[in-house]
Amino acid sequence: MAIDAAVSAPVIALAGNPNVGKSTIFNCLTGMHQHTGNWPGKTVAGAEGRHYFGGREWRIVDLPGTYSISAHSAEEKIARDYLCFAKPSAVIVVCDATCLERNLNLVLQIREITPNIVVCVNLLDEAAKKQIILDLPELSRLLGLPVVGASARAGRGVKELMEQASALSGADAGTAVGTAAETAAAGAFAAGVTTDASAPARHCCRLTYPRPIEEAINSLLPFLEGLAPALPRRWLALQLLDKDGSFLESLARSAALDIGTMPELARQLDQLHNQLAQAGYHCCRLRDEITAAGVRQAEIIAAKVVRHIREDSHRRDRLIDNWLTGRFTGMPLMLALLALVFWITIVGANYPSAALSNLFFALESSLARLLSAAPPWLSSLLIEGVYRTLTWVVSVMLPPMAIFFPLFTLLEDAGYLPRVAFNLDHYFQKCGACGKQALTMCMGFGCNAAGVTGCRIIDSPRERLIAILTNSLVPCNGRFPTLIAIITMFFTVQFSMSAGGSLSLTLLLTAFILLGILMTFLSSAFLSNTLLKGIPSSFALELPPYRRPQFRQVVVRSVFDRTLFVLGRAILAAAPAGFIIWFLANINTGGQTLLAHFTGFLDPAGRLLGLDGVILMAFILGFPANEIVVPLIIMMYGAGASLAEADSLLTLKTLLLDNGWTWVTALCTMVFCLFHFPCATTFLTIKKETQSWRWALLAFFLPTAIGIGFCLLINGFAHLIL
């Protein structure tokens, strides 16, 4: 991530623990739509936007969520380096009001680096529901920092936050503090601003360490005179004593301060380390004490500021967890929830799908009339080549996507995804992988490219690679409708959408998804026993509090940002593919169309897999976007022959049956749709994330090989019994 603070507009950075609402505040300020969700690690790279406040422009930087700035993971390193070396004008440290103590540790750590902090105690509404009372003025006094209470999801407290942050940056300080004082008077415990930060208080509560460490810091300070002037010397001394390798690297790179070239400093450091070791503070204990100092001070402050009215404030969450992640109930409920989501998607998508296809069919005749003046080849190209592909994509793809994605996002928003990771961790561990892979796998249901990027939340490089390579084994939003359409046509009892039909459809789809998940486990186990050998690393995952999903925002955002995005991509890919196929089908060489040459060439391979040349060709041409595979199949079958009405499933089934489809073809097409090479976007994302063509190619061939294997088996078996 390249965020550079040295460009004109002053920068306000948003830091904080994972999942405390930084992205929500960021979206509130910038009007942007960073994807938000209730699970730690959702923002894996920083985001940047702009906000106008107080008559000027501000750059707002959303840092990845971190528990500390001691940089054990890539995100923490990004956050720490940004805070140390990019020098934002102000840092807003966002805290979760329902879990203040843990969050204060980070505030205390960042306070050692920069004094320009506004503490934002977010999620006050959640805290109020849990009957947790916070004394924000006291918190401000104890920390010596301005504190703003907020409920960012309802938009409360965001303006006050900007007032405080801009006041810190030195711009129009007077007015901002004035307004702040008024707000503070209005309600101390509500979303208000508290600035009891009197000047002397700023020093009284800095972190203190056991005496030998304090002495070592003091004796190091004279050596740091003039070095890295932007960093507080006391903090710098502590980092040097801590011998934090990644920090020394960043220091050398960003502040041109290389300890290796300073023999005097190095000698002093060695001597101090020896002294500390003699006093019992060898390397590991030194670190323990440094971390513990922050944790203990946070504990002291929280004890004075937080009051729980009920003894068990999180009782509701524990109750839900006992069911959703329980030893015996966790898995069945997860499967039931998965099936429920599919059932709602299938039943709900049926009606708008039919309505859309009727509408498009009616429009086609008016379009044909409109084009009657044009040359026949042009109207044929536009109607048969482009219009039908597009309308098929829209009428069959849009409704399931527009239902599935919001449902999925609601679960995500409520905080269910980390529970999935919790439930599945045991199995991932057995496969030598990380439980967080469940999170990236779930993201893959939305979009495999997003899932691959999300793999950054996995710290171990080995386990991260496993997660990336296996991500395409679960179907993305663009592949669901294809699966649903084929199951509907070939595998339901009745074609009409009866209760029995939709139920068997749901069960079959769920079984298919479970097959994808099973193959994810098996491939992960395979990879960790062959190419990516190693033992599972340690695992610590936070299960955040459940939150009531924001229905309206979730629906609006997931329809507009995700569904329309995927659909737009499908249309962009479908139009040129439609052109190509139309031309191939209309150019004759050697008594055959070019299309027939190509599909004829692929036909033997296709037949072997239980498919045919056309289906294989459609998958290859569908590389830019998986959504267009079925429309391409229709076009290629329909090319030449006149096709009355390709957009209803009944006529589509007739068309497919006329072209020799059996239930074996349908099953093999579904299996190949589930397991084949990732789409172009995902492929390039894998290349970007792994920095290697070799891994990208493996990610290309692994699912393809699985698909080919399954198809050969199914086809061979079918030949034996039929």
């Binding site: 500390s68 843990r102 971390t291 524990r318 967890d321 966790g330 045991h426 610590a540 299960l543």
Partner: protein, 88 residues
């Protein structure tokens, strides 16, 4: 079982759901040690075991008001003193 003193100190992974214990020491190494410290799991922290996951692993713990899932393989390296025997 025979030695009362030893019985008080046990591995975090042996803490049963609903029980609490004070962290005494951690034998974890490297980044996991620090990660748990950053989550507030330092000496003297009161930890409550909440529930077991499907398959018996991982376990969910209440650490300073947050729910953290840990595998048994990691939790066994953390020694705790069971609550309830603290005053005996």
């Amino acid at each position: 079982m025979d030695n009362h003193k030893e019985n008080q100190i046990t591995q975090l992974s042996r803490l049963l759901p609903g029980c609490r214990g004070l962290v005494r020491s951690s034998a974890l190494q490297g980044s996991m040690r620090r990660r748990l410290q950053d989550l507030g799991l330092v000496e003297g922290t009161l930890v409550r075991c909440l529930h077991q996951g499907p398959g018996g692993n991982p376990m969910a713990y209440d650490i300073r008001g947050a729910v953290i899932a840990l595998r048994k393989e990691d939790a066994q390296h953390i020694l705790i003193e069971r609550e309830g025997r603290l005053w005996q």
